[in-house]
């Protein structure tokens, strides 16, 4: 067609329209003549006109409104500052607002800023929900849940500042390429961790979908957008059933909705289990199980249709995994997994079983509900004989019972502490010990920077910290204020390896003096303030000692003998009659408990704590009314995390004060027991590998078994596998895995590896490690450390060096020698011992640790740690003699990470931590300046190992953050 043709069409079109309808056809015939095309054009146009719809009647207003309302804001915000955040760019828009990348101009870090859309600023309901979300999530503390930094309101609107996550959403990841089922399960396990935590504090996510799950570049999964999360009412013991916005309002993306959500029925935590099941299904198959051309079709499928088996699309998916997904996606919540703990355990088992090759037995290990139950739900008309229904009923009731126990009991036990407020007071993450003054006005804490500790004082109400003792060799193990608040007491030592004493100083750090020598625990004042109680440890026993407030007049109250000893804290009861103390049985496995000792008679009475699998209680403190104690236990299933609990006295009934994934490692109560300070440790380790021949590129091997993988030792085997220490399962053991993170497998099962100092070394075909030894007859741990050696498959374990004072071992590549740090002569020296038998020989005569043998086996490098002098690197011949070289190392060297020789032997690798970021550096042996080898931008390195080819590093690194937190509103 051309413009002229269109003009002809238009002319006849208008003329025809002006005629009465019955005359039009004749006019068209006449005016078009033989031009068939022209005639057809006009006729079709007139047909359209007659049947015309209202498409053009109104401009596309709602589209314009929708667009302007959501996109306008960022045009204005980018480049601007809100509070102390400088907006960099728009990251995306969610249901309730836009998310921007911004820079925190105070802390100089990138953050994500979620701003409430301007359209909703006048919408109170939205604002309420927005804040509710923020509060809900900020109460959670988990490596797989996005971290909330602050919730603020400014003139520009309400916003939430959160951790900025660089990576891709699970949605993008699924769209990119198919996931291996093992990878899908690894991601899923991380998601279950997040949801398990949120459920444990009563938060349902309600909008689990791939777009709400981010995968960071290092493989860590983060669950975001608890946008629909709804805090449950903890006092009713029931989950709130309705959304704020009304009973039938559908929230959430419908493809991932549970049937009960789709039906607008009451929902409980099991709705997340269903949505999670849908997400896992999509990860495994690449397609959403419930789809359709319309929302109604999707609702219908969600409510009525059973999704096809995953194995129909991919028969590499294990039958058991298919069952797990089916069980999570049961239409009836009662038939689903009831908790994420069960689901997580099954996912972990399936991964483990596939890796250890015991896959055929997997079905027997998976604690699943019967998966055939779908047959019994649909069709509904089917009748069941009583014998079939009865066991099912029992199962369902059992499920309900478990569910009730898990949720109801948990929520009722947190009852008294439901209104606690937790504020993080320090941003540096370097706090160790902490104390609060009895009136709550002052907080003292120790800060550890590169192994040097300083003491700080803060007024609770203000944000400023004052350094009262500068960093030096002093170690502050425990801090306490005097009862009048005028003095600070600390138990500490004048350096690593020195005996601990009790010291006193003014709150400004002046007039420091030693009060009592040989104090090995926190102290506690008697109610009248005239006496101090503490624990003193000796070779064979330990005792509770009572002394005068200025020292002297010591008397032993009670003594316990190894292996059933006291813990690290005593607490004098408010009436002065009892001293509560944690107890610890140091056997092959630890067992923790708590007793009260009568001060007058010395008799012990256990407190029957209603807690299971308690491994250890670190601290204990009476509350003011004498009716209970606050304590910090850690149980076998808690993953080395101390939580704060309350035990009623004398019943031993337990309530949670905290229940999160942090660890609370020191605490102190005010005189009225309403407020406490604690050191909150966040902890997440992972293993990274550098790319072959490129130390600056790294990949995370996402094979997490425990939160401390590799922290206490990592090494390469000759055939390129990675051996590491992990506390998976409660005890530290040596594990081995392939260099891509697959096939993790424990090599030892009953050793306490690397109790204090990491030590794991491979020489030749054997693995050398340090462990506590177990007495073969009593099956109990023998005091002191022993070096063991075993084959690289974990077989043939044998003892190689016996010394109660040794640490930091390294074996030579040819397997001739082991070198190690020992205090056998009372001082830290490097020793060598022949692995094939013979006497140990001392190599150094200065304070030295962390030896490493060169690849040719001829030289030993070590760290020289002379008191008051800079850290140095020494090199000596394996045959002894005078040191060949002494070079200064940076003061920021991480001594615990040890050192290793590079491939050619012309450099020593060490870990250098600048600020809070560690990298592996090389110190050239010729004395040139050290240079960084890796290129990490965050986190600290705990351990590293160079592979036998000398071109790849395995690095255990992660975040270790120890913050002072203030916990208020402790209403017992």
């Amino acid at each position: 067609m051309d413009p002229e043709k269109l003009r002809q069409i238009e002319e006849r079109y208008h003329a025809a329209l002006e005629l009465p309808p019955d005359e039009r056809e004749a006019y068209i015939q006449e005016s078009c003549g033989d031009d068939e095309e022209l005639r057809r054009e006009i006729e079709t146009l007139l047909d359209v006109k007659i049947s015309s719809n209202n498409f053009f009647e109104t401009p596309p207003l709602s589209l314009a409104a929708e667009m302007f309302s959501q996109k306008e804001r960022h045009a204005n915000l980018v480049g601007k500052e809100i509070s102390h955040y400088k907006i960099i760019r728009l990251l995306g828009a969610g249901g309730m607002g836009e998310v921007y990348l911004a820079e925190d101009t105070k802390l100089h870090r990138q953050i994500a800023l979620k701003v409430l859309t301007s359209q909703f600023e006048s919408d109170n309901e939205r604002i309420k929900r927005f804040k509710k979300e923020a509060r809900a999530v900020s109460a959670l503390n988990h490596p797989n849940i996005i971290t909330i930094y602050s919730i603020e309101e400014t003139e520009a609107g309400s916003f939430i500042a959160t951790e900025y996550i660089e990576g891709q959403t699970l949605r993008e990841r699924i769209a990119e390429k198919p996931l291996l089922w093992q990878d899908a399960v690894k991601i899923a396990i991380q998601i279950t961790g997040a949801l398990k935590t949120s459920h444990s504090v009563g938060i349902i996510h309600r909008d689990i979908k791939p777009a709400n799950i981010m995968i960071r570049r290092d493989g860590i999964v983060k669950v975001l957008d608890f946008g629909l999360a709804k805090l449950t009412a903890p006092d009713s013991g029931e989950f709130e059933t309705r959304e704020l916005t009304g009973p039938n309002r559908l929230m959430g993306t419908i493809n991932y909705m549970s049937p009960e959500q789709a039906l607008g029925e009451p929902v409980d935590p099991r709705t997340d289990i269903f949505s999670f099941g849908v997400v896992l299904y999509e990860m495994l198959s690449g397609v959403a199980p419930f789809s359709g051309p319309s929302d109604a079709a999707i609702y219908n499928a969600t409510i009525n249709k059973i999704q096809p088996s995953l194995r129909e699309s991919n028969d590499t998916i294990p039958v058991e995994l298919d069952h797990i997904v089916k069980c999570a996606m049961e239409k009836d919540p009662e038939r689903r997994y009831q908790t994420f703990s069960e689901l997580r355990a099954d996912l972990k088992n399936i991964l483990r079983d596939s890796q250890t090759g015991s896959f055929d037995n997997a079905a027997t290990k998976i604690k699943m509900r019967p998966t055939k139950t779908t047959d019994l739900v649909v069709p509904k008309s089917r009748r069941y004989s009583a014998w079939l229904v009865a066991p099912l009923l029992i199962l369902v009731m059992l499920g309900v019972g478990l569910y009730w126990k898990y949720f109801y009991v948990q929520s009722s036990t947190v009852n008294h502490f439901q209104s606690i407020k937790l504020d993080v007071l320090t941003a540096h993450g370097l706090a160790t010990a902490v104390a609060i003054s009895p009136d709550g006005r002052y907080i003292a804490y120790a800060k550890d920077e590169d192994g040097k500790q300083s003491l700080w004082l803060r007024q609770t109400a203000s944000a400023g910290d004052t350094q009262i003792v500068p960093p030096d060799q002093t170690k502050y193990d425990y801090l306490r204020f005097s009862r009048d608040g005028n003095f600070i007491y600390f138990v500490g030592s004048e350096g690593v390896g020195q005996p601990s004493s009790l010291y006193q100083m003014t709150t400004l750090g002046r007039n420091q003096r030693q009060l009592i020598r040989g104090v090995d625990s926190q102290i506690s004042f008697s109610s009248d303030g005239t006496n101090i109680a503490f624990i003193r440890i000796s070779e064979a026993d330990n005792s509770i000692i009572i002394a005068g407030e200025q020292g002297g007049n010591e008397r032993i109250l009670v003594t316990r003998k190894y292996p059933k000893v006291y813990g690290d804290e005593v607490s004098w009861s408010p009436d002065g009659k009892l001293i509560a103390v944690p107890t610890l049985t140091r056997g092959a496995t630890y067992a923790g408990g708590m007793v009260v000792v009568n001060v007058a008679t010395g008799t012990e009475t256990p407190i029957p704590l209603k807690e299971e699998k308690l491994l250890r209680i670190s601290q204990i403190a009476w509350v003011t009314d004498g009716k209970g104690l606050i304590y910090t236990p850690y149980a076998a299933d808690m993953g080395q995390r101390y939580q704060i609990r309350y035990a009623a006295y004398p019943s031993g009934d337990v309530q949670n004060v905290t229940n999160d994934l942090s660890s609370y490692e020191d605490f102190s109560l005010t005189a009225d027991s309403q407020t406490m300070v604690a050191v909150q440790r966040e902890y997440s380790m992972g293993i990274w590998l550098t790319v072959a021949d490129d130390f600056s590129s790294t990949v995370s091997i996402n094979s997490k078994t425990a939160a401390d993988d590799g922290e206490r030792g990592i090494a390469w085997t000759k055939d390129g596998k990675i051996v590491f220490v992990s506390s998976e399962g409660g005890a530290q053991n040596i594990w081995r895995m392939d260099a891509d993170g697959s096939n993790p497998k424990p090599l030892t099962t009953d050793y306490k590896v690397g109790k204090l100092f990491p030590s794991l070394s491979i020489g030749g075909d054997s693995i050398t490690f340090m462990s506590r030894a177990i007495d073969p007859s009593t099956k109990e741990l023998i005091p002191g450390n022993t070096f063991f050696q075993m084959d690289s498959d974990g077989q043939n374990v044998h003892q190689v060096v016996e010394s109660s004072e040794c640490a930091f071992a390294a074996a030579s590549a040819n397997g001739d020698w082991v070198v190690y740090t020992s205090r056998a002569d009372g001082k830290f020296r490097i020793w060598k011992a022949p692995l094939k038998g013979g006497d140990a020989v001392r190599l150094t005569d200065v304070d030295s640790t962390s030896p490493a043998i060169s690849r040719d086996g001829k030289l030993v490098a070590y760290l020289i740690t002379e008191k008051g002098k800079p850290l140095k690197l020494g090199i000596i011949s394996i045959d002894g003699g005078v040191p060949l070289k002494t070079l200064e190392l940076p003061a920021t060297t991480n001594m615990r990470a040890g050192i290793t020789w590079n491939k050619t032997g012309n450099g020593i690798l060490f870990v250098n931590t600048l600020g809070t970021t560690s990298n592996v550096w090389t110190q050239p042996v010729d004395g040139a300046k050290p240079t960084p080898l890796t290129n990490f931008k965050e986190f600290q390195i705990a351990q590293f190992a160079l592979n036998p080819e000398g071109n790849r590093l395995a690095i255990a690194r992660g975040s270790r953050n120890r913050a002072v937190v203030l916990i208020r509103n402790l209403h017992q």
Binding site: M1, D2, P3, K5, L6, R7, E10, Y13, H14, L17, T44, L45, V48, K49, S52, N53, N54, F55, F56, E57, T58, P59, P60, L61, S62, L63, A64, A65, E66, M67, F68, S69, K71, E72, A75, N76, G92, A93, G94, G95, S118, Q119, F120, E121, S122, D123, T169, R171, E172, A175, D207, K209, A211, G227, L250, M251, G252, T253, I254, D295
Partner: protein
């Protein structure tokens, strides 16, 4: 660039364009686009959620802002309407396209809310199809495309459109009638 500078520049470019400088249009578009967005945002903020959005009001307000509160130059006002209508078309079509892409699996998934603001007859797919049809129509009769832009995308009145195009209101009506029919037929193809 401050808003005032921006307005001034728009006025100058409008004059250039009215003198037949087609290059001025190219420069005008992004500026008008930006101004419209800013104005729309203010507009949305003042209104309660769920109110009816009026593109015409928006364009008038934007023009008033550019003109500094008084209509100094009738000529530039009509030219502005022409440009603004074209800008509205681009803005809305771009948005409709991006929404379609999202539906087909872009990165961002929006919560599906059955909101009561959805009173329009047009789907985003239809808006995109309309844009394609308009491009075909432009090759045959550009004036009709401009009528559609002003009438449909910008919501202008027939008299205003006639002013911009320097034709009679009757011609605008005829163009509008025929263009609608022609485009509807294209959309049904």
């Amino acid at each position: 660039m401050t808003p005032d500078n921006n307005s001034h520049q728009i006025s100058l470019l409008l004059i250039d364009w009215s003198k037949g400088d087609e290059y001025a249009l190219e420069q005008l578009m992004p500026l008008v686009y930006h101004e419209l967005r800013l104005m729309a945002r203010r507009h949305m903020r003042r209104q309660p959620a769920g109110h009816t959005f009026q593109t015409t009001d928006l364009i008038h307000e934007t023009y008033l802002k550019i003109a500094g509160g008084e209509e100094r130059n009738w000529q530039s006002r009509t030219h502005f309407f022409g440009v603004a209508a074209k800008a509205m078309r681009h803005i809305l079509v771009d948005y409709a396209r991006s929404k379609n892409n999202q539906k087909r699996g872009g990165w961002q998934e929006r919560v599906t809310l059955k909101d009561n603001m959805r009173v329009t007859n047009q789907s985003t797919e239809e808006i995109v199809a309309l844009d394609d049809a308009l491009s075909r129509l432009a090759a045959l009769d550009d004036r009709k495309v401009r009528v559609v832009e002003m009438k449909f995308f910008a919501g202008l009145k027939v008299a205003e459109i006639a002013g911009v195009l320097k034709v009679s209101p009757e011609t605008v009506k005829r163009d509008w009638s025929f263009a609608q029919t022609w485009l509807l037929r294209e959309l049904k193809k």
